[in-house]
Amino acid sequence: MKYFPLVWATLWRKKTRTIFTLLSVVVAFLLFGMLETVAHAFAHPSSGITGADKLVTTNKYSITLALPFSDAQQIRSVPGVSEVTWMTWFGGYYQESKNFVFALPIDTDSYFNLHKGEFIVDEGQLQTFRNTRTGALLNSALMKKFGWKIGDKVPLHSTIWTQKSDGSLDWTFDVVGSFSVKDPTQASAQSLTLLFHYELFDEGRSFGKGNVSWFEERVGDPSQASAISNRIDALFANSPNETKTQPANDFQMAFIKQFGDIGFVLRAILGAVFFTLLFLTGNTMMQSVRERTPELAVLKTLGFGDEKVLALVLAESLLLCVMAAFIGLALSFATLPIIKQGLQGLELTPRALVPGMGAAVLLALIVGLPPALRAMRLNIVDALADKR
């Protein structure tokens, strides 16, 4: 530690050069932080459903094919299943197709029983929702997004479901309350949710009655999840509507995977960034040590051992990289809110700190070692004569 002032001073020997090198390493770690966070979010998607005890059952051959509502009774009777609820994809938006609203027709009793304790909702508002046929319970973030308040009538356009009464694709709901999700990792996946009554939906639609898009189950013992999944699927094997049951998180993962190997693309970019950077910083370090040959010779003359000189150069490289990495990662965390806006539904958490610092140390060693070895091997007489 007593050599810190010396390392610090040599680092800033050529101010402009150090600042530029520092900035380019900062930039690399800014990208590292941003891309790692996004890659992590894609690798660990949140389904908006909390817990390892939740299963999702869909049609085996296609998520777009429906399942008969009557399956619910059979699923409920499977040992280990403690609750089952059903939903249908509504395909809703408000006014314009870019204003997607995740409108979800739910069976109130089983839905709230299945998700017991996961929502923060006012008891009174929940009761009003139960009692209002056309009522809707909205995520508070969604309410804020469109500036809706309790008592508003909200018209949503469904891209799929026509009303039996007039053939219209427009459905109107009464906003009776709001909810939010307790689990912060699921909050953004749920931020566009509007819950309304399945009964209203099923009676109101002009076709597809009695069919649902998917079931959600809660199991008593999460370690039994895969056995229970198999039991559910066995019920419907060889029926016209075979099922596929999987943990809610796997279901979401499979969906994310359909976008392609995003993690690979992001890491390939990072690879290019770091290779470029390695070259750039390594070159600067080499040059800086070469210019200081006579000074290093003086140090050695003063009695600094070979190892100490090696350590001094490495420390300089380490200081530069770690400092820059820290600034870069801090900046990347500051950009998270912006990235979040572009990636609706993905939960971003600043996770790149530890791997980022690891990468910084590694980088420092790779770029610092060649000049450090060179400094260590310097022959005092030649170096003082400045024979490079």
Binding site: E242, T276, N283
Partner: protein, 392 residues
Amino acid sequence: MFKQFAAVISMSLQTLPQRMGASSVIVIGIAGVVAVLVSVLAMGAGFRHTLADTGRADRVIILRGGSDAELNSNLTRTDVDIISNAPGLAKDAGGRALVSSELVTVVNVPKIDTGTDANVTLRGVGLRVTEVRPELKIVSGRMFRPAVRELIAGSGAAKQFRGLIVGSVLHLRNADWTVTGVFTSNGDVHESELLADVDTVGSSVERNGYSSAVALLTGAAEFTRFKDALTTDPQLKVDVQREPDYYAAQSKQLTKIINVVGKTVAIIMAIGAMFGALNSMYSAVAARGLEIATLRAIGFGALPVLLSVMTEALLLSLLGGIIGASLAWLFFNGHSVSTLGGAFAQVVFQLTVTRTLIVTGIVWACVIGLLGGFFPALRAARLPVAEALRAA
């Protein structure tokens, strides 16, 4: 003045090999930026091309009003009958309108590389599909037959998804379907799909009716007449779009995302590379301090010196840009990938390094080089002659 410039630049280029290390920083730094920029944008370009190449101006797609996409849409048999009698439609030899009633469903087929299920479009098509879509060509095997469970696979789908070779059997919803052929379709989005007879698909998914109707007009100019006839018909509630418009709208969002992401990453990287370029050019100027001072002392102007440093930076960055764009082209051009498209189904496309993208990459390289060269060039031009000579 030009002569002076030529002399200085030739001198600086001749001494360039002595500054190899520092100079290669510019080349490699910029090559990295351009390679990333061009590769990412090639993804967007490939996706856009696949959808933009779908359809022709004289072909229309008819959906139920307000549905946005085929998957959500629903047309009855009566709807299709009315559509088939509208004015402006091309007819076959027997005088029947060239309309293909289609039923779009999505089926799970595992991807070859990951083994996980992907949403693949199974499109039921009408009997006259080959006349409505003349670009559809069977490249191996044969066409499916109606009324039996046979399907043909697009060449893109066959490459990305498991079990889509001629003769193989696909188990879909309680029944076995035989793959009888593989088709191409001008490299458009249908190459990502499976095609089969519409009524066979309908009975398999227990759906009575269609998703959409695709109709060939006698000419692109007939569109308005045809559209007006359908939209003013009180019996119908449909949206009529030219095929290219329909597919262009589907590519818009993803292309935009790819472009924004690609450019953001490249801009940030470019800033990093610019710092690298600044460093190398400053050290190049420092290394040539004596040379520059001598030139100034014997009467060379400041401007030729400034320009020569800028030119050197520009040439190095140009080289970097060319290397970067070539790497992107070499590794990724024609690379086939698939993603979830706007219509909730997989779209197979190829990364396309277009000429525009190469030019874009090289322009970026030059801008980085100019910015990175300017301040060092300024310093070179302002070098106090006497001091620089004495320092040496």
